[in-house]
């Protein structure tokens, strides 16, 4: 799970390449950040590439090697999140061959690397790292003994098994980048003066708005003004594949916010408004019909997206549709029951989450149709699904999902509304009317809760654990709140259906143990009040998110925060926002960088 980038210019005279590579690294840092590296062709007739790489964050490595001052005609860059081999200078990318003429950056896993490495070592190649990636440059070097660079690259790729996105720079062809994709994302930018390849769109958008999103098993080369792609030995027609991207890469910078996470939390009113105005009701009605006609609905997702899936499952049940939310990586446990007439729903922000992608393939393989909810146009999950609904939240850079969750829930609510109308259910139909008010209401939630939440975060920040409890639709909100606290503040947090808390979890509760309750549905209020009393009796520190003016609830808690109230479905969005803020401020108070939680990557593209 790494970020890769390559650029090659038309010019023969070396340009200020350093700032371009640094910018790309900064954009890609969210994809992995245990080590960083670049390789540069300093002139069009150098015989080898210059490599600078080390362990650390982008800013550290850029500063240490003065990467900003590099000049050249082409370069590749990489941010690493270790899979094979620990984070170290040697294991950082780019990796080069024996002669230093071939530099490779790679995201993914080469499954047969051990066997390739043995073969190459026997042929006299010297390996310097413990990585699977290093076999690639040596393999290219080996084939280049008999073949020109492009053929050699193509032969080398043919030997690789596993998941990969690769960009290679070869010294004898200084204006060309070689690339290949299988399972890991890769995007090619189409421009006249430069050739660009990167793991994600925002990084390419710094250079051109015209892009080609590569499909699995495609490989090729690009030079300024030229892109050549093949699949299975045959050229791919690219005429219809070039996409003009409308949103700007600038949206992915911090814009004066101290962290991306806070920026993205505050962007939610606009992101939700964007999602709302972009809803395609024809697609939603068709999707609602597919849900209505399905024998059984399997909702597959991972992490935050799964919590949106839980909201959907609860809503579908209320509308008489049988739905099961499943952790995507556990889909094999149920796939035996799946057959024709079933519908899979895949929810993934990036559309590249490997677990979700694998689940989609399993469901389709068993005969189900699949509907995708994703934020990234043209992503793998979107391409492999029968119906696609986009969330249009704009790029999300912070590892912890915020605006992509609330926009997913908005889309889910719109779907439920469309289905409720189709089946004539009045209970949920009004959710659609309230939806229009959600963006403004979220803005109000931010204003009214950020102060008291920051103060509460101090009480939570000093604790080793916390519980988040809710009932009904409050449960997915509690789950999301607990996940956020774990991810960015490194505080152990668990969410439970409030009624379940006395079947075990309550044993841990002692004086001062923080328990956060989510009161977003008046229907389950009475039962939830009882759970608060149970926790108070154990001297827990009780914190409530409650509707405004609910004094009978306010008096139950040590601390409470009033959150504007619409209806339980739209409240999922309103009530999760204070919990996002709670995790953010707890992380800041504990001195952690909430944008870069340890051990996590934004998009999990390895199983």
């Amino acid at each position: 799970m790494c970020g890769i980038f390559g650029i090659a210019y038309r010019t023969e005279a070396p340009l200020a390449l350093g700032p371009v590579l640094r910018r790309a690294l900064e954009r890609l840092e969210y994809r992995g950040y245990d080590s960083v590296g670049v390789a540069v062709m300093t002139s069009a007739n150098s015989e080898s590439v210059q490599v600078y790489k080390d362990v650390g964050k982008v800013s550290e490595v850029v500063g240490k090697y003065s990467i900003d001052s590099l000049r050249g005609v082409a370069g590749v860059a990489h941010t690493r999140w270790a899979t094979h081999g620990r984070p170290s200078k040697e294991n950082a990318h780019p990796h080069v061959d024996c002669t230093g003429a071939v530099a490779v950056v790679h995201n993914g896993i080469i499954q047969n690397y051990a066997e390739l490495r043995e073969r190459l070592a026997a042929a006299g190649h010297t390996f310097r790292s413990e990585t699977d990636t290093e076999v690639i440059p040596h393999l290219i070097e080996e084939y280049m003994k008999a073949l020109p660079p492009w053929e050699a690259f193509r032969e080398a790729i043919g030997q690789l098994r596993g998941a990969f996105a690769i960009v290679a720079l070869i010294a004898s062809e200084p204006h060309t980048l070689y690339f290949a994709r299988r399972l890991s994302p890769l995007v090619v930018g189409v421009a006249e003066e430069s050739a660009v390849v990167a793991s994600d769109l925002p990084t390419v958008l710094d250079h051109t708005r015209r892009v080609i999103v590569l499909h699995d098993d495609e490989y090729g080369y690009t030079a300024p003004g030229e892109v050549h792609v093949e699949r299975g030995g045959a050229p791919v027609d690219l005429a219809s594949r070039v996409v003009e991207i409308s949103w700007t890469a600038d949206m992915a910078s911090k814009e004066g916010y101290p962290h991306y996470m806070l920026k993205e939390i505050h962007e939610q009113p606009m992101a939700l408004a964007g999602t709302l105005s972009g809803l395609d009701w024809d697609t939603l009605r068709a999707a609602a019909e597919a849900l209505h006609n399905a024998r059984h609905v399997y909702i597959v997702a991972a992490g935050t997206s799964l919590h949106a899936g839980h909201v959907m499952a609860l809503g579908l049940a209320r509308l008489g549709v049988k739905a099961t939310p499943i952790v995507a990586s556990e889909v094999h446990s149920v796939v035996g029951a799946v057959g024709e007439g079933d519908l899979g729903v895949a929810i993934s922000q990036s559309g590249e989450t490997i677990d979700t992608l694998v689940a989609v393939r399993a469901l389709r393989g068993a005969g189900a149709r699949v509907m995708a909810i994703t934020n990234v146009v043209g992503s793998s999950v979107a391409r492999e699904s029968d119906i696609v609904i986009y969330t249009r939240a704009g790029p999300e850079v912070a590892v912890a999902a915020t605006k992509t969750f609330t926009t997913q829930v908005l889309v889910v609510n719109a779907l439920l509304h469309a289905l409720a109308e189709a089946v004539g259910n009045g209970d949920i139909a009004h959710v659609g009317d309230n939806m229009q008010r959600v963006p403004h209401m979220v803005s109000r939630v931010l204003q009214l809760t950020e102060g008291p939440i920051r103060e509460l975060s101090r009480a939570v920040a000093g604790r080793a654990s916390a519980y988040y409890l809710g009932r009904g639709l409050g449960l997915p909100v509690a789950m999301e709140g607990a996940l956020k606290l774990k991810e960015v503040a490194y505080i152990h947090a668990e969410a439970y259906p409030a009624g379940e808390s006395k079947h075990g979890p309550i044993a841990l509760v002692a004086d001062g143990f923080p328990v956060i309750f989510v009161f977003l549905d008046r229907e389950v209020e009475k039962a939830l009040m009882g759970n608060v009393m149970e926790m108070r009796a154990r001297d827990a520190t009780t914190i409530g998110l409650i509707p405004p003016g609910a004094s009978h609830l306010a008096e139950l808690f040590d601390s409470y925060v009033e959150v504007p109230y619409l209806d339980p479905y739209n409240n999922v969005i309103l009530y999760v926002v204070p919990l996002q803020l709670l995790a953010y401020y707890a992380a800041v108070h504990r001195g952690y960088d909430p944008d870069k939680p340890r051990n996590l990557a934004k998009t999990v593209t390895v199983e």
Binding site: E255, G256, P258, P269, P439, E450, G451, Y585, V588
Partner: protein, 366 residues
Amino acid sequence: MRVLPVVLAGGYSDKVAPLNNEKAMLRVAGRRVFEYQLHNVLSTFGRAVLVTNRPVETRDGVVNIVQKRQGIEGAVLAGLEHVGDHTHVLVVFSDIITAGNPYPMLVERAIASNADGSILVAPLGSSETYSTVAMDEVGKAVSIGAGASTMVFLGAALLPITAAQRVEEERFMSIIGGMASSGRLAAAIYPDDWVEVEYPWDLLSAAEMVLGRMDGAVVDRRAAISPTAVIEGPVYVGPNATIDHYAVVKGPAYIGEGAFVGAHAFVRNYADLERGAFIAGAVEVTHSLIDEGATVGRGSYVSYSVVGEGAVLEPGTVTKSMPAERRERLRPIYVGRRRVYKLGAIIGPSYRVPAGTVLSPGATLR
């Protein structure tokens, strides 16, 4: 955008009594209050105009101007004497100490939102005396001092010169309020800790924040540390400071230049001993600020207290520290599920406390 930073360090306040009523000149961890924001401004812009009541010694990049007219308006006006070819002025209230540097954010926020200027805001649990700032969906300030919001104005505003010049005839807060209501000001959110120095005990919160951010120990090579003394945790020991036999220092603590810590003294966390402070033998000090040249006599116990410049606590003085009056002004400490507020005594400059005195919580002596 060429920014002229103006740091307001003038004015007088009675609320800090019995301490020096020029609160920007009070000290926390070896620096005067105004020096914290001056430092942030210099590291962002490399230059600053410093407005004070009287001339002060400054460093490179700083122009010191003496304020003629009182109030924020008078201070801004004084700063604008150096307007030159600057397009914007950054007005900084120096009595708010922030744990980090908010100014790069403030500038980026104005540029990113395509606004004429920006103001610094922070989320606050209860807004009390602060001006609330209401914001719109895209994070612009829409009103100041009105409207339901838990964001408050944090004493820094980046304004076009032309807007700032209106302080000739209009109140400063009214100028930024007007700009906000016409959608011309972005709001930059400061998420980290900050302390406004308004009352004497705010110095204790400021010391706690500043000392709490120290990472590692710095002991000046000219300090004299007895071989039997124990120093633990983050601590700064300045030049010519003395730590005598069997003294125990448990950080975070600040021991300024030439300060003396006597034998068997116990200097605990968040003790801030300014230059030349004298801590006699067997004294215990915690969460307290002992200002320049003040003396704490043998066997005294000082907690959550401020001992003003040159004051003397004769031997055996004991401060009691709970519960506190006006506790809403203090930062709470969580003990289990309860918030605890503590305050010892505030002792004015050069005051002499007789031997054996027991001081009640919140006692103010002048």
